[in-house]
Symmetry: C2
Amino acid sequence: MNIDMIRAAAKRLEGHARRTPLLSSPFLDEIAGRKLLVKAECLQHTGSFKFRGGWSAVSNLSDNELKTGVIAFSSGNHAQGVALAAREHGAPAVIVMPSNAPEVKIENTRALGAEVVLYDRENESREEIGEALSRKRGLTLIRPFDEPQVIAGQGTCGLEIVADAGVTEADVLVCCGGGGLTGGIALALAAEAPGMTVRPCEPEGFDDVTRSLLSGQREKNDSESGSICDAILTPSPGEITFPILKEHCGPGIVVTEDECLRAMGLAFERLRIVVEPGGAAALAGALFHGNELGHDTVIAVATGGNVDKEVFQRALETLA
Amino acid sequence: MNIDMIRAAAKRLEGHARRTPLLSSPFLDEIAGRKLLVKAECLQHTGSFKFRGGWSAVSNLSDNELKTGVIAFSSGNHAQGVALAAREHGAPAVIVMPSNAPEVKIENTRALGAEVVLYDRENESREEIGEALSRKRGLTLIRPFDEPQVIAGQGTCGLEIVADAGVTEADVLVCCGGGGLTGGIALALAAEAPGMTVRPCEPEGFDDVTRSLLSGQREKNDSESGSICDAILTPSPGEITFPILKEHCGPGIVVTEDECLRAMGLAFERLRIVVEPGGAAALAGALFHGNELGHDTVIAVATGGNVDKEVFQRALETLA
C-alpha cells in the first residue's frame, strides 16, 4: 500500500465518484469550540464512501474477471458500493449480507442488480460463506477493507480533504470499522498533509481499533451486533489496515450511541444532510469530545447516510 | 437585468457561496421516468439559495451603506441569507419576519446577529413596515426578489447548472415564490443554455405565477399563508421578475402538499439531503408530473432545507 495507489485510484474514479463537499455551520463551530468541517460522504453514490473502494477495485479487474463477476460480503454500504460499481462495469455481482442488516440496505442492493445471499451474523462467518461461493463460481472476492485496491479507493477521500480544507493542520475524525477508509485517509494525509492527524472514531462496546492502538496488537470486540451503528461493527482491525493505522493514526475516540443520535439531529438541522448512526460517530467525536482534540480545526467524515426512518426519527427527537 | 450582472455576481460570490452539487439516484430516475438531477441548494450556507442573493446585494454596497446597515423582510430564508452576508461584511442587519414563520428560522436569524422585528402576516404589510424602518434608520432595504442584485445573485445558481449538467437540453424546475431565483436562472439559461427551459413550480392554492404566465398579467393569490410550503408563499410575481419569467419560462407546474412531503421523503431516502416543503416543490414536479415535461432530462432545484422536525416527520411517514 502506498500513496501512488491512491493517486491512481483517484484517476480511475474521476467522473464516476462524486467529489463530496466539505460543509460547515457557525452553529456547529460553536458547539465544537473550534472550526468544524464535515466531509459529506453520505452524498456519495449509493449513500456512502464505500462506492469509492468498490469502484477502485472493480475498475482494476481484467475483462475476463469482469465477465465472470464479483462477490462481496458486507453489512450493507460496501454491498451497495460494489453492486453499483459492478453494474456500471457490466459485471455480475453476488453480495453476502447479514440477515439483520437494515432492510433498506438489502432492498437497495437487490435493486442495483446484485444477487443477495443472506447469512446469520451471530452464528455464521461471512468470510467463509464469501470465500466458498467465490471458489465455487469463480467470482473475484472484493473484501470490504482488507484489500489494497479498496483501501486505495477510500484514500481518495483523503486527497479531497487535503485539497479542499484550506488548512494544513487539523484532527481528521473518521468513523472506523475495519479501517479501510481510516487507513486510506491516513496514508493520503501522511503523504500530502503531515500536519493533519487521523483519529478513528468508534461506538462504545465496539472500540476494537481504539484498544488495538493502545495495546499495539489487533484486539477483538465481544460481539458483532447490538449497536445502532451497524455500518462500523467489525470484529477487529484488518491484517492490512492495522499496520497502517498503527503507524499513522492518533488515539481513537469512543462515542456513545446517544452522541451519534444527537450528531445526526444536528447534521439534519444545521447541515441539511442525512447521516446514519455509524456514519455520525466522527461528527459525534468532533462535537462532544473536544477535550480529546489537539488542533484548532476538526474535520469529521460523515461516512454514510443509509438509515431507516425509525432510527432517524430517534435522532430528530434529540433536537430541542 | 442582464447576464453580465449575473456573471459579475458570480465573481463576487466566488469563495463565499458554496458551489452546491448536482445529485442523482437511479431510484429517482426510475420514478421520474427520465434522468433526474437535483441541484442541492439546501446545502448552501444558511440552508437555502437565498445566501446567493443576499451576498450579491450586500457585497455591492458602498462602505457607508455597509456601516449604516441593511434591512430585509422575509419569511425566513432570505432573512438568514442577508443576516449572514451582512455579518460577514461587518454590517448591521434588521430583519422583518412574519410572527408565524417556523421558529427555527426566527431563532437562526437572531443567532446570526440580526435584529428581528416580527409582524402579523395576515393583517400587516411587511413591505410597509420594512420601508418605514428603512427610512427612519437610514438602512438599505434588500428586497427578497424584486431587486436586480438579488436576482443576479440567484442567477449564479443557473450558471452552475449549465456548467455541471452535462446536457444542453432539459426542463429546469424551480420552486417559485416571487420569482427571484426562477428569473435569475431563466436569464442565465437563456444566455448560456437556450435548450434548457425553466419551469416554475408552485404549491396548490398559491399558483400566482402559473396563472400569471397563462393570463399574461400579474395575478394574485387569495391568501399569504395556509400552506406548509411557507418559503414560497408570495402574493404575486414581482414587477421586475414577471417580465423575465414571461419572456423566458415554460408553463408553471402546480404540485400538492402531499407531493411535496413525498418528495422530501424520497430526497431523505435516496439523496440523503434535508429539503423543506417549499424547497421540494420542484422535485415533486420532476417526480410526479412527468407528463408535463418535454425533455429526457429534468433538473430540479431543491431550494432550501430549513424545516422543523415535526414537518419532517410527516415527510418520513410518507415512506413505505
